[in-house]
């Protein structure tokens, strides 16, 4: 009885691995231990990586915070940490590719790095993942994007759905940013509402308006792994994953 019911449901469901086929590369996570608010140890790091492998991910581009005064990471520090994690992956014989970039906080320090060419970008397009404060709008963000656009880097705004000060009527501020040529990366967990109802609604709205270019987990802790399984069942996300608009796969080669 239960088995037959189960089979009915599983027929209508698309399996996780099929969905992950459309992602393959996670490009937002905090898996380098001890250098930001992400994983605390190499063990936690490996636990999460194993889960990624289990779901069918082929590559991880992990992105520690660079935020002056709070997480004073440098390209040097990040590269060193990446080596440690890579060694562990090798020693455990795990079948996944890992790279490191950073999630840059948009302040003057970032502009300094940009002008000095000290940026850890990823992909052929020189993608650089950037973030704002969740709390308050920065006054000159348009100028910052203007500055970036004059360089060879292609900015990706991390989790645009999480900035409450952009929750205006038609998301006009986010649209304006999009028009400036900034790509958008959706946090997969947003669709579950774990960042709040507002973030969930905006996420759905952005998906509906085809404004999402990348998806990422932004995973910080092993205890958030369960969210990853849950969010793959969401119909908005399923639609997005099957739409073919996502650029995640292009990061594979």
């Amino acid at each position: 009885m239960f088995d037959s019911l189960k089979s009915i449901f599983s027929k209508s469901e698309i399996s996780d691995s099929v969905l992950v086929e459309n992602i393959k590369v996670d490009m937002h996570s905090h898996l380098l231990p001890g250098i930001d608010d992400g994983v605390k140890s190499i063990e936690e790091s490996i636990e999460i990586i194993r889960h990624f492998i289990g779901l069918g991910y082929k590559k991880i581009i992990t992105t520690p915070h660079i935020m002056k005064g709070t997480y004073d990471n440098t390209s040097e520090i990040i590269k060193n940490k990446l080596q440690i994690v890579r060694q562990e992956i090798q020693s455990q014989n795990l079948d996944i590719e890992i790279e490191a970039s950073a999630e840059y906080y948009l302040d003057t320090h970032f502009l300094d790095l940009l002008f000095n060419g000290d940026i850890l970008s990823f992909g052929k397009e020189n993608y650089v993942l950037v973030e704002f404060s969740y709390l308050q709008k920065q006054n000159d963000y348009q100028n910052i994007f203007m500055n970036i656009s004059q360089t060879d880097y292609q900015p990706i705004l991390a989790h645009p759905e999480r900035y409450a000060y952009f929750y205006d009527k038609n998301l006009s501020q986010l649209k304006q940013i999009k028009e400036q040529g900034v790509l958008f990366q959706l946090n997969l967990f947003s669709i579950l509402g774990v960042y709040g109802k507002g973030a969930k609604m905006v996420a759905e709205h952005l998906v509906k308006e085809n404004m999402i270019d990348f998806v990422g987990t932004d995973i910080h802790k092993p205890k958030h792994i369960a969210y990853l399984d849950d969010c793959l069942k969401d119909k908005y996300l399923q639609k997005l994953l099957q739409s073919g608009n996502l650029k995640n796969k292009s990061l594979l080669s």
Binding site: D37, G69, D72, Y105, D107, S133, D140, D168, F189
Partner: protein, 798 residues
């Protein structure tokens, strides 16, 4: 250049935003609305449960004017008066005491029976399902005060009666007496549907007069109006806790009104009949006298003149004679009436006995109505009753009126008769050929004719009265008998619920409105941006507990992020100054307590966290607070440095536990501040600091209070003007505007302190409220108070 597009932009979007803001302002207090709506819903429920339903019965009767066969046809006169006088009069009759008196008596309305309901213990009236019949008889006329008995049915034979706190056991059917007041009897009904043993009732005997007054007040009698035209129908309505009681009362009122009408008519027609009968006796005697005179004369004088007479009556004087006969008939009737009026006192006057004057007939009818009313009062009301006194006054005045009219009529008729006689004489003079004997004969015979005409006339009237007496019926008929919809007129469920709900919405709205009227503080960033023309640099969010220390850089609370944003925004704002040059930032505010020292200390710390070399200058000489944030205070400060030329800058620099941040304290509080700020030593100090540090942060005194703040202006690259949310009055913003407009500072920005982000406006758009602002990796929501916690409400109204 910049202002124009800004202006038009604002104008376009402002209205849209304002409606939303106003709505949000109220919606934010939704728990208050919830509480009030719950309270008022419970209120409405209790109100409906405990209020006694009131029913209304209505009925209508039609006054038929045409049917007043016995009376003179008044319709022409009513038209003259313009109103429907008859209907209005009848409305008075319907509500008149004699009619209501009968109703009270028929239905025992003075007896009220109540009992308590089983669960809700509310007192309800019992009317048509009383298990017993009550009989009561007042011994000494009306009682003065209500008599209250408590009844408990013991068994089918006996009941216990409690009166004046004493209980007696009585058998049903036996009358008991309250001396000098009332005899009273309860008869248990037979075939009661259920057991009545143990049931308790309260029986109240109310004074008849009070009951009457109450009934008169509560009985509503109105002229029916249909499509703005007054009709001849009268609507009656009454409210009662019991539908059947209301219906019974209405039906009884109508019945008694009819009875009353019929009775009056009977009295009048009987009186008229008697009067005519009486007159007929006289007239017939007189007539036979005249007839015998005529006979005698004819025999004595041997006049036989039928031919002559017929000739004479056929000639020209014929019409005159006819008129004369008529006039004499009228005169006789007037005399009859006058005689009647003089002999009887306050009795019914005969009607319809052939008076040609319509006015008098109307007056007589009115007079009769009053007399009838008085007769009915006699039985129930004493002569000293003001209403009766007024009534007897109007009776006698009307009587005088009629008498005067009759006298007038008599004089007129007398003159008419005289004139006609004179004319007749002249005519007869022309006929003087007629022998004397015949003339005498004619006189006698005319007398005989007059009497005969009167006699015949009265005979005819008598028959008319006799016939109409048999066929007396009321002048009204029932259009619809008493009817009640069965739905209480009060309380009206829907209306009550609506009223309570509306109150539940209006009261919290008023509370919030009043609170907002009393509230003159600034609350959030967007409000500040709206109110002030000065650019706002950033805002610092409010913490649950007031912070009084330097924040750690890896603190995960929103306030830390506020400072991070403040530093970022500051850096962008100062990006026109090259990195290698030192930047001086002064913090001031309108009044004390807005958080200058807190923000300057933490701003300095966060700049230091970003690897800048920072010095914090405490220049609030009046109320220095820096020592709260930095514990290890050295003895020497700015004032020492200025006074003592031997001191080096190192002597006043204090390293803090934050790497890269040094602090300079104000030093001893100097008596004359202006000297300090003008001094060359200050300049030298500033110059030295500029060489050593990337940022110089000056914590100064409130600008509203102290003038030395302004003398620091030349050193300053940017002034941050601190405005504390929920603290600074909106009107006080003018002070900052003045400073801004004077343009003394190279750069002037507002910083909002202690903004309560949970109350801020963003996130209210289409996407709900901002769900927590935890740290980057964590999305655990901020702890929320539950709605039943005191702190929740304290928070809501803070």
């Amino acid at each position: 250049m910049e202002k124009e597009p800004l202006f038009s932009n604002e104008k376009f979007s402002d209205e849209d935003i304002n409606v939303r803001l106003i709505l949000d302002q109220y919606l934010r207090y939704w728990p208050l609305y919830l509480v009030f709506i719950i309270i008022f819903s419970v209120g409405a429920y209790l109100y409906l449960k405990y209020s006694i339903p009131v029913y209304q019965a209505t009925s209508s009767i039609l006054i038929e004017k045409e049917n007043q066969s016995l009376m003179v046809d008044f319709s022409s006169i009513e038209d003259l008066f313009g109103g429907n006088k008859v209907v209005e009069d009848q409305m008075l009759v319907v509500k008149s005491l004699p009619v209501l008196m009968k109703v009270v008596d028929n239905l025992l309305l003075d007896v009220k029976v109540t009992r308590k309901t089983k669960y809700t213990q509310k007192t309800v009236g019992v009317y048509d399902n009383r298990p017993f019949i009550i009989e009561r008889k007042y011994l000494n006329g009306d009682i003065k005060d209500p008599l209250v008995f408590k009844i408990e049915i013991i068994d089918l034979e006996n009941y216990e009666l409690t009166y004046n706190d004493k209980s007696y056991k009585y058998p049903f059917g036996k009358s008991l007496q309250i001396p000098e007041l009332v005899t009273f009897k309860l008869i248990l009904k037979k075939d009661l549907p259920q057991a009545v043993e143990g049931e308790e009732y309260t029986i109240t005997l109310n004074p008849i007069t009070a009951t009457l007054m109450y009934l008169q007040e509560s009985l509503i009698v109105e002229q029916a109006i249909k499509s703005s035209k007054v009709s001849n129908a009268i609507n009656l309505s009454i409210k009662s806790y019991n539908e059947n009681k209301a219906k019974d009362i209405l039906n009884n009122v109508v019945q008694e009104y009819f009875n009353n009408d019929i009775l009056s008519k009977k009295i009048i027609s009987e009186k008229t009949y008697a009067f005519i009968q009486d007159r007929l006796g006289f007239i017939s005697t007189e007539l036979s006298g005249v007839e015998s005179d005529l006979e005698k004369y004819k025999t004595t004088n041997k006049v036989y003149s039928i031919v002559d007479e017929s000739r004479l009556f056929a000639d020209n004087s014929m019409s005159t004679k006819q008129s004369l006969t008529d006039a004499e008939l009228q005169l006789s009737i007037v005399n009859l009436m006058l005689g009647e009026l003089n002999t009887n006192k306050n009795e019914i006057l005969p009607v319809n006995i052939g008076l040609a004057d319509v006015n008098i007939a109307v007056n007589i009818k009115a007079y009769n109505d009053l007399v009838l009313q008085d007769m009915q009062y006699k039985s129930s009301v004493s002569e000293l009753n003001p209403e009766r006194i007024a009534l007897s006054k109007s009776i006698s005045s009307l009587r005088e009126n009629i008498k005067a009219s009759l006298n007038n009529l008599r004089v007129n008729n007398q003159m008419l008769v005289n004139n006609l006689r004179k004319q007749d004489k002249i005519l007869e003079g022309e006929l003087s050929l007629i022998p004397n004997k015949e003339r005498v004969l004619r006189d006698i015979s005319r007398q005989q004719q007059t009497k005969e005409a009167l006699f015949l006339f009265l005979m005819q009237k008598r028959e008319e009265v006799a016939i109409s007496t048999i066929s007396i019926k009321p002048d009204a008929k029932i259009v619809s008998p008493a009817f009640s919809s069965g739905i209480p007129v009060s309380p009206q469920k829907g209306k009550i619920i609506l009223i309570f709900l509306v109150l539940g919405l209006i009261i919290p709205t008023i509370i919030i409105y009043v609170l907002s009227l009393l509230d003159s503080k600034i609350h959030n960033l967007s409000e500040l941006e709206r109110l002030s023309p000065i650019p706002v640099l950033s805002s610092i969010v409010k913490t649950r507990k007031p912070e009084t220390k330097i924040l750690e850089k890896d603190d995960r609370r929103g306030i830390v992020e506020s400072f991070r944003v403040l530093v970022t925004n500051l850096a962008f704002s100062l990006s026109h100054i090259s990195d290698s040059k030192s930047k001086t930032i002064m913090l001031t505010s309108t009044i004390a307590g807005e958080g200058k020292t807190f923000i300057s200390s933490n701003l300095a710390a966060f700049l230091a966290y970003s690897n800048y070399k920072v010095v914090l200058l405490g220049m609030d000489f009046r109320a220095p607070k820096l020592n709260i944030y930095f514990k290890n205070v050295k003895n020497k400060g700015i004032t020492h440095f200025i006074k003592d030329e031997n001191l080096e800058i190192e002597d006043i620099l204090n390293p803090s536990k934050v790497e890269g941040l040094d602090v300079i304290y104000p030093g001893l509080i100097a008596p004359v501040f202006l000297d300090i700020t003008k001094s060359d030593r200050l300049r030298s100090m500033m110059d030295q600091l500029k060489v050593r540090y990337d940022y110089i942060i000056i914590d100064s005194a409130p600008v509203g209070l102290v003038s030395e703040t302004l003398s620091l202006v030349p050193f300053v690259d940017m002034c941050l003007y601190i405005v504390r949310a929920d603290h600074l009055d909106k009107r006080a913003l003018k002070i900052s505007e003045k400073l801004y407009n004077e343009g003394r500072f190279a750069d002037f920005r507002l910083v909002l302190n202690a903004e309560d982000i949970r109350k801020s406006e963003y996130g209210y758009g289409n996407y709900g409220k901002y769900g927590g602002y935890g740290a980057y990796g964590d999305f655990e929501q901020e702890e929320k108070y539950k709605i039943w916690q005191y702190k929740y409400w304290k928070d809501l109204f803070s």
